[in-house]
Structures are given as C-alpha cells and as structure tokens.
Amino acid sequence: MFHIHCPYCDEWREEEEFHPRGQAHIARPEDPAGCSDEQWGDYLFFRDNPRGIHHELWVHAVGCRKFFNVTRHTQSYEILETYRIGERPRFTRDNPDGVVASAPESLDDSDIATAAQEVRA
C-alpha cells in the first residue's frame, strides 16, 4: 500500500491509479522554427537525471485523469510534495528543506504544504 496525494481530487490515493510521465516544467520553445537543431533536440529528447530532488509530471490515470507535478527524491524515493500544473514547487534543489520565505510567493503555498507528506500503510 502506497498512497500519493492527488492535488485535484484532494485525497491520498492508491499508487495503482497513477502513472509517472517524466520530467516536469519543460517549456516548449517560444519560436520552434527559430531554434537550432541542438536547442530543439534538447527540448524533445534530453532529460535531467539528477541524484536528489527531481520535479516530475504524473497523471492520475484511473481517477480524475489530470496531470500534476511531483517533487520526488530520486535516492530515497520520498515524495516531498505534489502540486497542480501552473504552481511553483516548494522543495527545490536550492531549497531542499522546503523553507517557506516569510512573504509567501503565491496563495498556493499552503496547498503544497499539506501535500508534502508521504504515507506508507
């Protein structure tokens, strides 16, 4: 039993309902025609493979079928947070403990904080 928090269903749900879909926050180049082959190739094919904190795209495949983001530690496999598309992660490589600045960047930070746990039953 392994549960992941879906930020859209707003519930902890069984792992079996989810699928990972690779690295998150990959921005499509604004002007694809103006890209060099290398830039376009990087966008299409090349992905990070960090040791430590990694932002990933997951989908609640058997559920609400929405894509969302997961911050996961690739060494411990710990899921630090899940957050909606368009939101900013709280845990990053530069901020591995998820320290929230005194002035919150957005209203979504509290949502992210509630998701920053992992349950094993």
Binding site: Y8, G63, C64
Partner: protein, 222 residues
C-alpha cells in the same frame, strides 16, 4: 444558438422507445447465469439501464444551465455526487461531470443544455452506449467486505460517506464507484468490461450468497 447545436452535430441515439435495447450484460445474463436471490442472500446485484452524459467545461459556466435543465446544482467539491429524483450528477474531474439520466433522456438534456449555453466553451458527450450501472444492495458488512476484496479504494463509511463517488480500480479495470444513499452502492462500468466485472462480482459475492435481480424496468430511477 441553433448554430451552436449544428456545429456540434448532435443526434438522438435513442429515437424510438419501441426499439428494444440490448443491455451490456444481456450476454452475461444468458451465458454466465443469474443466481436467484434467496432468504440467505446478503448481497443483491442488479443492472440499472440509464443514459449517461458527460459534461465538460467550467463549473461556473455550466452550473446555471445545469440547474435550469436538471434541477440539480453542479457538484463543486471533488468526488461529490448529487442525487436527484430522476437524475444524478457526479464530479469526475475539475472540468468534467457525469450525469446519469432516465433512459432515453440524454438527447433532450443535451439539446436543452446546448441551447441554454449558446456559444460557451463546453462539450457534451452521450456515452450511454458505452457504460452501464451495476447496483449493489444488502447487508452493510457484506457489501463492504465484497468491495474491500475488489477495489483499491477505502470503502469504510468513515472515508466513503453517502454522496461520494470516485473513479478507481476494481480488479485491475477502471470503474466509477458511488454511494448515492445509505442502502446502495453503484458501479459505473465500461460496456466492454461489464461481463468481466459481473463475473468478478458473482465470484467475490459467492460467500455472501449473492443474488441477481433481473426484472427491473428499463430506465426506472430510484
């Protein structure tokens, strides 16, 4: 408005009530069998033939039209199910709802919603032919144990209150599991998986002497 309707190319999938419709479980009833309910049966299973309409769009855009046409407000919270006299509405995702309607009603509802919404950015799909409702009633404890063997979702009443509906995994296939009231559980299953789910439930329900009731009036809602 009529332009919006034309643009969507709607058609009535159920034009004449005289045309008999084969339920997705017709083959299973014939070939797998229907154990008769007895006095020792702790779980009863029956199929409910309804129309199913998927509504997509923004909640604020849809809500007013849905209330005017169905007399139900759109469930705003995740996993919420509103049960009306004739129809039910279920939250499926932040921009998607399932309306379960009396049989033969989907086209009327779809047309009325399209007229009410005009050029708004919405989408409606009549999926009546693609899925069916299996209803389970009986002894609380037996129902819960049957579901615990079948779905990955926690069905304890503390976690699964009346008025909740989730899409989840049942024996490796996807189903919508819902609890419209205290005495019923409903499974919305894909047509192509209906036979599989039916057989699974018969097998899982054997220890509770599961019985299948068949003489249910098509389109009847409870």
């Amino acid at each position: 408005m009529s332009e919006a309707i034309e643009r969507a190319r709607t058609f009535d999938a159920f034009p004449d009530e005289g045309i008999p419709l084969e339920s997705p479980l017709a083959w299973s009833f014939e070939h797998v069998g229907c154990p008769a309910p007895g006095t020792h049966s702790r779980v009863m299973m029956r199929e409910r033939q309804h129309d199913h309409l998927i509504l997509r769009g923004g909640a604020i855009v849809l809500d007013e039209a849905v209330r005017a046409v169905l007399g139900l407000s759109l469930p705003a919270r995740p996993l919420e199910l509103s049960q009306g006299e004739r129809a039910s509405l279920q939250w499926l995702s932040p921009d998607e709802w399932l309306a379960v309607l009396p049989q033969g009603d989907a086209f009327r509802v779809e047309t009325a919603l399209r007229s009410a919404l005009g050029d708004a950015s919405v989408a409606f799909s009549d999926v009546s032919a693609g899925q069916t409702v299996i209803e389970l009633t009986g002894d609380d404890q037996a129902l819960r144990e049957l579901l615990m063997k079948s779905v990955v979702y926690d069905v304890h009443p503390r976690h699964f209150a009346v008025g909740k509906g989730v899409t989840t995994v049942l024996a490796k296939t996807s189903v919508i599991l819902r609890r419209p009231d205290e005495r019923r559980w409903e499974l919305v299953v894909r047509r192509s998986f209906a036979d599989y789910v039916y057989r699974w439930l018969l097998d899982a329900g054997e220890e509770f002497a599961i019985g299948v009731e068949r003489d249910v009036t098509a389109g009847e809602t409870t």
